[in-house]
């Protein structure tokens, strides 16, 4: 289709969708209303299960199957990215060169890295108490690792994180979530049931299986994001086609 025809079709579609959605918005309940039946039920159930963070209770206890699906989506996407960004036979891997980094930046990165790792682990551990949880903490841990790439260079990062180990951790995280769900089945109640003792409210071990599922998700998300970024870093920095190898040689010769 020519560009003009596409704009006409798009304009018609956008107009129709806008009209439909605007008509629907006029009949929506007013913003900020007080009628939230599902929410009130969820809050009551979360407090009954002694989980302080109700969002984590909804995510890992009441609607745990959603989170299983969500983690499988992340797991499948990382697996897909590993397959799609693999090194095809007509490409070569160039070893990353040490890069020079201003010392101030290097010192900053080295000092902040353990701090950021600790924060990430804290967010995962306190998933059922304070805002945050397995997913947010996992991403913080994964991005903290990449401070090494910014502070030092790609080679240092590669030495610290062997990608094979993280793929294993990814598989173990996903498998742990599924097995924890099956534990509810073995304990006599339904799949993904919160059968562990709920502990006392607002303490680290409260909420039964919520902290365990949080930990499984945290491990899986941290390793998944590390593997994801490793693939993108490899494509951007290391993997070179045969044809462009001369460009690399020219740069090295200068």
């Amino acid at each position: 289709m020519t560009r003009r025809a596409r704009l006409w079709v798009l304009a018609a579609g956008l107009l129709g969708t806008a009209a439909l959605f605007a008509a629907a918005c006029l009949r929506m309940p007013p913003f900020g209303g007080t009628w939230h039946p599902y929410g009130d039920r969820a809050v009551a159930a979360a407090i009954a299960q002694r989980t302080a963070n109700t969002v984590s209770s909804v995510n890992f206890d009441q609607r745990a199957l959603d989170t299983l699906g969500e983690e499988s989506i992340l797991f499948a996407a990382v697996l897909g990215t590993v397959v799609l960004l693999r090194r095809t036979p007509d490409e070569r891997r160039v070893a990353p060169q040490p890069a020079s980094v201003p010392p101030a930046l290097r010192r900053y990165a080295i000092t902040v890295l353990p701090l950021a790792l600790l924060i990430g682990l804290y967010v995962v551990a306190h998933g059922q108490l304070s805002p945050g949880g397995g997913f947010q903490g996992g991403v913080v841990v994964a991005t903290a690792l990449h401070l090494l790439y910014i502070g030092v260079d790609h080679r240092a990062l590669e030495r610290v994180r062997p990608v094979g180990l993280y793929e294993l951790a990814d598989g173990v995280g996903e498998g742990a979530y599924v097995v924890l769900g099956a534990a509810g089945l073995l304990a006599g109640s339904a799949y993904l049931a919160n059968t562990l003792p709920h502990g006392t409210f607002n303490t680290l071990a409260s909420g039964g299986t919520v902290p365990l599922l949080n930990a499984a998700v945290g491990m899986e998300v941290a390793s998944a994001v590390v593997v994801l970024l490793a693939r993108f870093l490899a494509q951007a920095l290391e993997i070179v086609d045969e044809k462009t190898v001369d460009e690399k040689e020219e740069k090295e010769k200068e």
């Binding site: 289709m1 596409r6 704009l7 079709v9 798009l10 018609a12 579609g13 107009l15 129709g16 969708t17 009209a19 439909l20 959605f21 008509a23 629907a24 006029l26 009949r27 929506m28 309940p29 009628w35 039946p37 599902y38 039920r41 206890d61 009441q62 609607r63 745990a64 199957l65 959603d66 299983l68 699906g69 969500e70 499988s72 989506i73 797991f75 499948a76 697996l79 897909g80 990215t81 397959v83 799609l84 095809t88 036979p89 007509d90 094979g164 793929e167 294993l168 598989g171 996903e174 498998g175 599924v178 097995v179 769900g181 099956a182 089945l185 109640s189 339904a190 799949y191 993904l192 049931a193």
Partner: protein, 606 residues
């Protein structure tokens, strides 16, 4: 049994986790055996659940409803949901068997990657088929999508798979985000996420206003994108023409059908009651889109040279017929569509399997280039011809039975079903005649097949290099046996009366809006009204008129194929504008998807 229902979804996930976790240290043979074991386990679970007479209802996490409301997610194992999950698992088993050492060396250290992705794909389909929660359906819909994008673009060393996967990814993601907007609207109005609960809340205060209509349109958008209904269908031919053949088996065999299942399920449970969309509105939407999709798919299928693209357009055509069957909103329509889906899955997967063998042996899927080169594998040619006849609705096949049952719905249906079956079946027979018998002239190689003057030729599929890395001499046994088994399955669907009877009973239970809500929320023993189903069991079986119509469409297909081979077929010019619309441009596809949303709202509110 109801506690084990979630394991149908969990077992493939565990298998995928094991395959990825042990990916580096696991030899290829072990990886594929583990994958087959997991797929077989969930097939057995699905069939065991099917064997029980009543609907299996399982609340994840034990959050059973107290006086009619619950905060958890429900998995509903009714006959048709479990049937779809079983079909998906069987096709995944067929794919894993078919691709037994089919690919050249897998990527170093990731021998488990392809089977793991296929297992995740199966988990997504089984989850989507079983879930009774709208947001959970969106999550599994996305899981199917993500696995589909990765599997379609598997051959990254070629230029076309990557483009097909991109088109697949953009259009399907946009469709699923529209569905999520619809779910948010429904949540605002009803405060519920379970399909039965939303249906009940809508019926409690039945006001059929713009919000319910907008929610209907937006939720249906994502499902119709997955079901490849016109104008949302543009991604399907691009994705199928380039995906590895084992993946095409699943994409065409069952993934597109999950979209049709989703449309039927959401309409019946959520919008089927007094508070939802009036039946006439839904019938108008589904029948109009179905007819347009069927005709477009059939016409485009006839024009194709690229065999996989030809089969993809035939899937669009047949999905249009499924939408018409579902759109009739009758027991015959739905049970006929179920039989048609089962028969079509077997026949289409067998055709793709044969195409895979052709690609593996002759390194091409272009009809003209393969002219007469398939003479020494006549067995595959016979399978291909049988598949083409099945598509054309030849009586003993399940497709013929499904077509016959749906055609009884109203007077104009036999003409539509006959024409579409004849065109798609005829195209497949034409390919079989040209490739395996070498009849007719070499094919118009000299004038380039350009849709419009200066553009370079259309997708011809000539220079595809075989997926097995090196041209294999004789077809490997697993590939042939899978093709034969799938065709035998399509034949069995049409010949086993108990299966047809079961689908008829299941359809009347499926279409029961109040019965579903009572089963899921009220906890009353499920299975709909056994009395009603048993009495009217006669509806879904061969009739003289049905068999005659099947023979007629098959004969028409053979005549069309013969005419095409001899060269009497009309020139391709008249359909050039339609072919130019399939431009492969992502911006076009997104524009057509948005236009589709506008079209849907017009059809619903009109």
């Amino acid at each position: 049994m109801d506690r084990l229902l979630p394991l149908i979804v969990a077992v493939p996930l565990l298998g995928a986790a094991v395959l990825v976790g042990a990916g580096r240290r696991m030899p290829r043979l072990a990886a594929e055996t583990v994958a087959c074991a997991c797929a077989a386990a969930s097939t057995a679970l699905a069939c065991a659940a099917l064997a029980r007479a009543t609907t299996v209802v399982s609340w994840a996490g034990g959050w059973r409803p107290r006086h009619g409301v619950s905060g958890g997610i429900v998995l509903v194992g009714d006959r048709i949901g479990l049937g779809l999950a079983a079909l998906a698992s069987v096709l995944v088993l067929a794919v894993l068997a078919y691709s037994w050492r089919y690919f050249e060396e897998p990527p170093r250290g990731h021998s488990g990657a392809f089977p793991a992705l296929v297992l995740l794909f199966q988990a997504g389909m089984c989850g989507f088929a079983l879930t009774g929660d709208l947001f959970d359906a969106f999550v599994f819909f996305e899981l199917m999508g993500v696995c589909g994008y990765a599997l379609t673009g598997y051959h990254v060393e070629e230029s076309r798979p990557v483009q097909g996967a991109l088109a697949f990814g953009f259009v399907n993601s946009l469709g699923s985000y529209a569905t999520l907007m619809g779910i948010a609207l429904l949540y605002a109005r009803t405060g519920e996420l379970g399909m039965a609960a939303i249906g009940r809340q809508l019926d409690a205060a039945p006001e059929r206003d713009a919000l319910v209509a907008a929610a209907f349109v937006l939720v249906m958008t994502g499902l119709l994108v997955k079901a490849a209904a016109v104008p949302f269908h543009f991604w399907l031919p691009d994705a199928h023409a380039v995906a590895p053949t084992p993946v095409c088996l699943v994409l065409s065999g069952v993934m597109v059908e999950t979209g049709v299942y989703g449309v039927a399920r959401v309409h019946t449970t959520v919008f089927g009651g007094p508070g939802g969309i009036p039946a006439a509105g839904t019938r108008r939407v589904l029948v109009v889109l179905g007819v347009v999709s069927a005709v477009t798919g059939a016409v485009m299928c006839w024009q194709q040279r690229h065999i996989k693209r030809l089969l993809a357009f035939s899937t669009v055509g047949h999905t249009g017929l499924f939408l018409v069957g579902v759109g009739l909103l009758t027991d015959e329509g739905l049970s006929g569509t179920c039989l048609y889906v089962l028969g079509h899955a077997g026949a289409k997967a067998a055709l793709f399997a044969c195409t895979g063998i052709l690609l593996a042996r002759l390194g091409s899927v272009d009809e003209h280039e393969l002219h007469g080169r398939g003479r020494d594998i006549r067995g595959i040619g016979l399978l291909f011809a049988l598949g083409g006849l099945a598509l054309a609705g030849l009586p003993p096949f399940g497709t013929g039975l499904g077509k016959a049952v749906v055609e009884e719905g109203s007077a104009w249906l036999p003409a539509l079903f006959g024409l579409v079956s004849a065109l798609t079946g005829g195209a497949a027979l034409r390919v079989a005649a040209r490739v395996f018998l070498g009849t007719g002239e070499r094919g118009r190689e000299e004038e380039p097949e350009t849709a419009g003057g200066e553009e370079e030729p259309e997708t011809a599929g000539g220079e595809e290099e075989p997926e097995t890395g090196r041209r294999i001499r004789l077809a490997p046994p697993p590939m042939v046996s899978v093709a034969v088994a799938l065709l035998a399955g399509a034949l069995a669907v049409g010949t086993v009366p108990a299966l047809a009877e079961a689908t008829y009973a299941a359809s009347s239970a499926f279409l029961d809006h109040a019965g579903y809500a009572a089963t899921v929320l009220g906890g009353r023993a499920g299975g709909g009204q056994p009395g009603h189903a048993a009495a009217a069991h006669g509806g879904a079986w061969w009739t003289w008129t049905g068999a005659a119509l099947g023979l007629l469409s098959a004969a028409l297909a053979v005549v069309l194929a013969a005419a095409a081979v001899v060269g009497l077929v009309p020139s391709r010019g008249w359909s050039a504008p339609l072919r130019r619309l399939h431009s492969g441009h992502i911006g076009d596809y997104v524009a057509w998807t948005t236009a589709g949303i506008g079209l849907l709202s017009l059809l619903t509110l009109w």
